[in-house]
Every structure is written in C-alpha cells, then in structure tokens.
C-alpha cells in the first residue's frame, strides 16, 4: 500500500467503521458522531469554571470503553470523542472569561484581559466571535502542522535512532518536562523521580515483585488509570474544594452584558488576522514541545501581540487590556494552536506532552491495538499496518473536528454562557463520585478506590507545595518504555556501561538533557509561588 492508500484507508475507517445505530436503511458511523458529542461536551466543560477538557476525558473514558469494548474497532470512536472534547474545550474556555471575567485557567485569564472589557462595552457577541474565529484559525494551522510533521518525524526517528538513541530521547523528554513545567527545576525532577518510582513498583522482570515490601496488595503494581486520574483529577478536586470549604461557596457569576446583537464588524477579520496568524505559529511551535502548555503560548502570544499593537495602533483604538480585539485574537489563536501540535510528540515519539495527550495514550493502552510512537508510521506493503490506518483515522477526525470548530463551534459556544452559573462546590463532589465510580467499574475492587484517593492526596500535596503534577504522570507513562529500551540497549551493546554515549546522536541528546536541567535551574523561579505549578495545564 502506498501513502495515498493509507490516507484513504484512514478516512474510510472513520466513515465505514462500527455503526452507532441504524435507521431508515442508513447506518450512522460511530466515530464522526462521537466526535460531535465530544465537541459539544468539550465546549460545555470548557465553559464551566473549574472543569476542563482532561477532566471530561477522564470521566468519559471508562464509559466509552464500556460502550465500545476493548477491541481495535473501538479505537476510532473513542479517539473521536476525546479529540472532540480536546477541541471543544479550547474554544469553550473563552466563554466565561469574556462574559463573566471568570478565568478557570491562566490562559483564559489572558483572554479576559481584553474580552471582558469589550463585553462591558456592549460588544460581548463581537468578543466571542473574535475569540471563536481566532481559536479556529489557530486550530487549523496546528492541525496542518501535525499532519505534515508527525509522520515525517516518526519516519526520521525510526530510520536514524537505534536503542541507545531512543533511550537518550526518552531521558531528554523527561529532563525537558521536569525543567520546563512548574516553577522549579528541582521540583520538576522530584516529580519525575516519584513518577518513575511509582511505575517501577512490581514491574520488574524477576519473579519477586520489586518495591512491594512483600505485600500482596502491591504485587500487581498501581493501575495506570487510578494513578493518572488520582493525581490529575482527584488532586485537582481536593484543591478546588479547599477554598470553598473554608470560605464558603463562590457567588454566582453576574453577566455584564447579554446583548444578542452585534458580531464581527466590517474589517475585523483583516484587523485580527496578523495577530491570530503570528500567535498560531507561536502556539504551534510551543505545542510541539512536550510539557510546554497553552499557558505559556497564551502569555507569549499576548505579549508579542501587545508589542506589535503598540507600533501599529491607530489613534482612538483601545489599549491592550481595555478591550482591544487584537488582544483576544492573539491569546485565543496561541492557546488553541497548542492542542493539535501537542499530539506531534505523542504520535511520532510516543511521548505525551500535555494532559489531553495523556488521555489519548491512556485510551490506546486500555483498548489495545495502537501503540503511539514511531513504529506507527511504518508504510508496510503489501501487508497493511493497522496502526497506520488508525493514525490516519485520527488525522481525519482532527480535520473533521476543525470543520466542526469553524461551523457548529460558534453556535454551541454562544449557547454555553449558562454553564458559568454552575456552582463549583456542587460540581466538584459530583465529579469525584463519577471518577470513583468509573474506576470501580474498571477494577471492580474497593482497593483501587483507595489507590486513586491515595494518588489524589499526592496530587493535592504536589499542588500545595508547588510541584507540577504533569511530569509525574508523564514519567509514570514513559517509565516502562525507558526501562525496556535501556535493558535492550545494554544487552545489544554487549553490556557496555557507556551505551548512552555510544553514538554522536545519543551523546547530543544526553548533553541536551543535562543542559536543559542546568541552564533552566539557574533561574530563580520559585518566587512566583506555586500558583502556576498547581494549575494543571488542562486545555
């Protein structure tokens, strides 16, 4: 099969895959419909302060697996829903920021800087429309870069990297994630170390399950879903409830302007286009790096937009921070461009770069039949590589999601202002119950619930002491691959203890890992406190 045949097979796998239901002689394929459902849910959770895309992914994954089962045909419908949530949540986050000045995430805070003042001037609908157009533009560019770069990068990796280089690449990724996430490199390293340690419990090659203190309860290790949901979701629930626990529930949001009139004005698109494009390029570049989330993209997008605006602002135009449409465009295009590009490391290298990518890996791991990484992009012929068909199916779903973003996104987004009125102190306990139930139906064991609560406590403590949680999760996911690659590389090199320095490429990768940790730790970053580290970059 050639490249074109694989692309076609991927498209057909989406539209001719398992049917969700049949009626009037027509079958409704599950994958596109699940994408639409996911997109709708994504906008709703994005528009709900306190909720975010990964939380919806976490809750829905066990339900999706229950519906579609653990067979290869389930992959695309499940991925469809998750991709829909991911895309929907990126545009949904702008709704409470613009209408109510409520910023659940730091990047939404940047949107609120100009969106809310514009809404207060009676132009809420225009602000939302600018956010939507910019967000969809960023998403489009990001998807195109993903389609081109992921296969190319994977082929390069597969062709030029051997076992020592692959080991070094994983080490570099972990070093990068530890150094770049949160406010302290030291804390990032501690987070990575603990993630690796948790993954190594009972996972060795010997008969005796290591690091279990001889306890039978630990002999199976920690379930992946319980660890990921515990640290990412339950920890976040604890942290969210705490403030309201001591200070009482937050007052309901008051909308400043609910005008239904207005929208884009003539010349608005031309006005915001350069800002949206520059931010989209910036967001895509940042998104392709593992561990660098939409917060940094939004912040830099806004800052660069501000610089340009100062030079080109016409007299009478509002300042940045005073309701400038360019400010909304610069932020929204940047943070939306991160979502597609974040899938580049996960699809091409098997390295999840953000929380949404973690759930894509989790879904693939739970269902089986698809192992994200460079081996996916093997263009075999005449035998069909089913993983490659799934990969092109994912690209098709991304493109369909983008189409939904441009078309239905605006109408769904506009209707979701109501979600901002949901009380967080009511929502969070419900999310806790849903998460615990979802884990139980998978593991059917109350012990698993205590494991998820235990990791939830760990996630909460991490947030309190300013340790970023995502390096822990990414290290937990990559630990098995790292150990396997190192063991094989050591054996293949004839027990050479310096196998990581056996080729120029692996030396460069290891030196880069050391350089990342060394250079970034020289910055005294602790002073910004733990606010940023405690907020999982969930969009």
């Amino acid at each position: 099969m050639g490249v074109f045949d694989y692309v076609l097979a991927g498209i057909l796998a989406v539209f001719q895959g398992p049917l969700l239901f049949e009626g009037l002689g027509f079958g409704i394929p599950a994958a596109p419909l699940m994408l639409f459902f996911g997109f709708f849910v994504g906008i709703a959770v994005g528009a709900t302060p306190g909720l975010a895309g990964p939380m919806a992914m976490a809750i829905s994954l066990p339900i999706l697996i229950s519906i579609f089962g653990v067979r290869p045909e389930a992959l695309l419908p499940v991925f469809g829903f998750l991709i829909g949530v991911m895309k929907g949540a990126t545009i949904g986050g702008a709704v409470p920021a613009i209408l109510f000045n409520i910023s659940g995430t730091p990047d939404a805070m940047m949107t609120a800087l100009d969106g809310y003042p514009l809404a207060r001037k009676g132009q809420a609908r225009r602000a939302l429309r600018i956010a939507h157009v910019s967000s969809a533009s960023g998403d489009t560019l990001s998807d195109i870069v993903l389609f081109v770069c992921a296969p190319f990068l994977a082929v390069l990796v597969e062709r030029f990297l051997d076992l020592p280089e692959k080991t070094a690449l994983i080490i570099l990724s972990l070093a990068f994630v530890a150094a770049i996430m949160g406010d302290s490199v030291g804390k990032g390293l501690i987070s990575v170390a603990l993630g690796l340690l948790a993954a190594f419990v009972a996972s060795g090659e010997d008969f005796y399950p290591r690091l279990t203190f001889g306890l039978d309860a630990l002999s199976g290790g920690f379930p992946l879903t319980a660890v990921v949901l515990g640290v990412l979701i339950v920890g976040e629930i604890f942290a969210s409830i705490e403030h309201m626990w001591w200070n009482g529930p937050e007052p309901p949001a008051k909308v400043e302007d609910t005008s239904k009139r207005g929208g884009l004005r003539p010349g608005d698109v031309r006005r915001i286009a350069p800002y949206a494009f520059r931010s989209a390029v910036l967001g895509t570049t940042i998104g392709a790096l593992p561990g660098v989330g939409s917060t940094l993209a939004a912040t830099l997008g806004y800052a660069f937009g501000h610089q340009r605006y100062k030079m080109r602002k016409a007299p009478g135009d509002p300042q940045f921070g005073d309701g400038a449409p360019e400010g909304i465009a610069a932020t929204e295009a940047a943070n939306s461009a991160v979502s597609g590009a974040n899938l580049i490391p996960v699809l091409s290298l098997g390295i999840p770069g953000n929380a949404a990518a973690v759930f894509i890996v989790l879904a693939a791991d739970s269902i089986g039949g698809f192992n994200p990484g460079p081996s996916v992009f093997k263009f075999t012929s005449p035998e069909v590589n089913p993983e490659l068909v799934v990969a092109f199916g994912i690209f098709t779903l991304m493109a369909l999601g983008n189409l939904l973003n441009w078309t239905a996104g605006w109408y769904v987004m506009r209707a979701m202002g109501i979600m901002s009125r949901v009380n967080r102190h009511v929502l969070m306990p419900i999310v806790l119950l849903v998460t615990l139930t979802a884990i139980y139906v998978q593991e059917t064991n109350l012990g698993a619930l205590w494991i998820i609560v235990g990791f939830g406590v760990l996630g909460y403590v991490f947030r309190k002491v300013g340790i970023a949680v995502l390096p822990f999760v990414i290290a937990y996911i990559l630990a098995g691959a790292l150990e396997r690659a190192a063991r094989q590389a050591f054996s293949a090199s004839g027990a050479d203890p310096f196998f990581l320095f056996s080729s120029p490429v692996s030396i460069v990768l290891i030196v880069a890992a050391v350089a990342v940790v060394t250079l970034l730790s020289r910055e005294a970053k602790l002073s910004v406190g733990h606010r940023h580290a405690s907020t999982v970059d969930q969009r």
Binding site: V185, A193, L196, K464, A486, K525
Partner: protein
Amino acid sequence: MRMIVFARLKSNPPTPSVRIAEPFGQVPEPHPRRLERRGQRMSRRSGARTEKENRDLPRLTPDRVIGLLAIVLGIVAILWWVPADAGSPLIERVRGRLRIGDAMAPTVALAILVLGGVVLLLETRLAKHSIRLSPRSLIFLVHCLIVIAVAFALMRWIGPIAVAGWAAATDSTATYRDLRDTVPWKYLGFLVGGTFLVATPIVLCERRFSLRAVLIGLFSAAAMMAVYDLPFDDLLLPPNGDV
C-alpha cells in the same frame, strides 16, 4: 511564565542594604538613590537575594525541607530499601551474559530524586520567596479523607447489613452475595454511599444542611446507576465486585 517573573521583579524590586564597592579606587560617595538603583540592577542581574531578603526568609523554608527530605529519603532508599526489596541487583549475570537487574531502574529514579533535592536546595539560595504551608490544608485533607472513608464504608456495608436485617426478619438464609445482582439490594450501598459522598462536601461548604444537597447527591448516584448498570450487564457498581 518567565515574563510574569520579570513583571513581578519589576513591580517589587529588592532593596539593597549593602554598599556597592566601586571597582577602580576611591570615588566620591554616590547619591543614595543612585546606589539603590544600581543595587537593584545588580541584584536583578545576578538573581541573588539581598541581605534584607535573607533576613526575611527563614532558614528552613518548606522548599528547603522538601529538598532535604528528597536527598535523605533518596539516599536511604538507594542504600537500604532497593537492595532489600528487589529480586536482582543492579547488574546480574544470566547464562554467562551480563544484563540490567531489577534494582537498576528504581536506583536511577531515586538518584534523580536526590538530584532534584540538590537542585531545589540550590534554587532556594536564589529564590526571593518560598511557598507557605498552612495547617488548615492538613485539617482540610483529614476532613476530606474522613468523608470519603465514611462514604466507602456506607457503600461497602449498607447492602449486607440491610440483607442481614431482612433475612432475620423473614427467616431467610439469603446473604448479600446471593442477592447482589438483584434490585433493590445491589443499589443500596452505592445509593447511600454515593449520596453521602456528594451531599456532605456541599453541606460543609454551605455550612448548613439542605435537602437540596441530599437531592443532588441522590440524583448523581442514580444517574451513575443509569449510566453504568442499566445498559451493561457485565459492569458492577461498588461494592458488588468485592462481596
């Protein structure tokens, strides 16, 4: 994020209390404000704390405690825990060939933990502030865990206790295990425990008992039953997989 750091530094510049030495011999005493500005510039460039900041920051900040804990626990685990709790050493010989043993990966992870502690201690030397921990966080966490433990206990025991009571009243020999796939027994524990798990935090946040909170809990638990139990025969709600 680094831009936010710079913004903060600019808005709260450190105030130097030391005299800045002139590099080339004696020069007239500069104006104090000029000295202050120069000190601010140098302090910003080097990232080092001033004496005043050193005085303000206690010696044992939470960040330093975390760094020290990581170093001590990491070394103790490398020396005692891993060798005692792994099936094979760092390197082992199997059929004449050397291979990596089970102790290697945890040892490397713990070495990274120690490295993280060292880097954190070095970072705290340059940091202007440290995180602040409040005992309220611990109190909150204990309360949360008590609520969860009670909810789990209700889920686990309400069904069996109800069946035991019903069996005693009707002279039946049935146990919960016999009835765990029948309505209403299979839902009792989840409904009561789930309602408690949702309603209690709402009540505690609102600081008043309300029927609304109970109804929200009841509805949430019922919705979970509808999602998982009604359409799927093979899925079990808590605690039916354990008893």
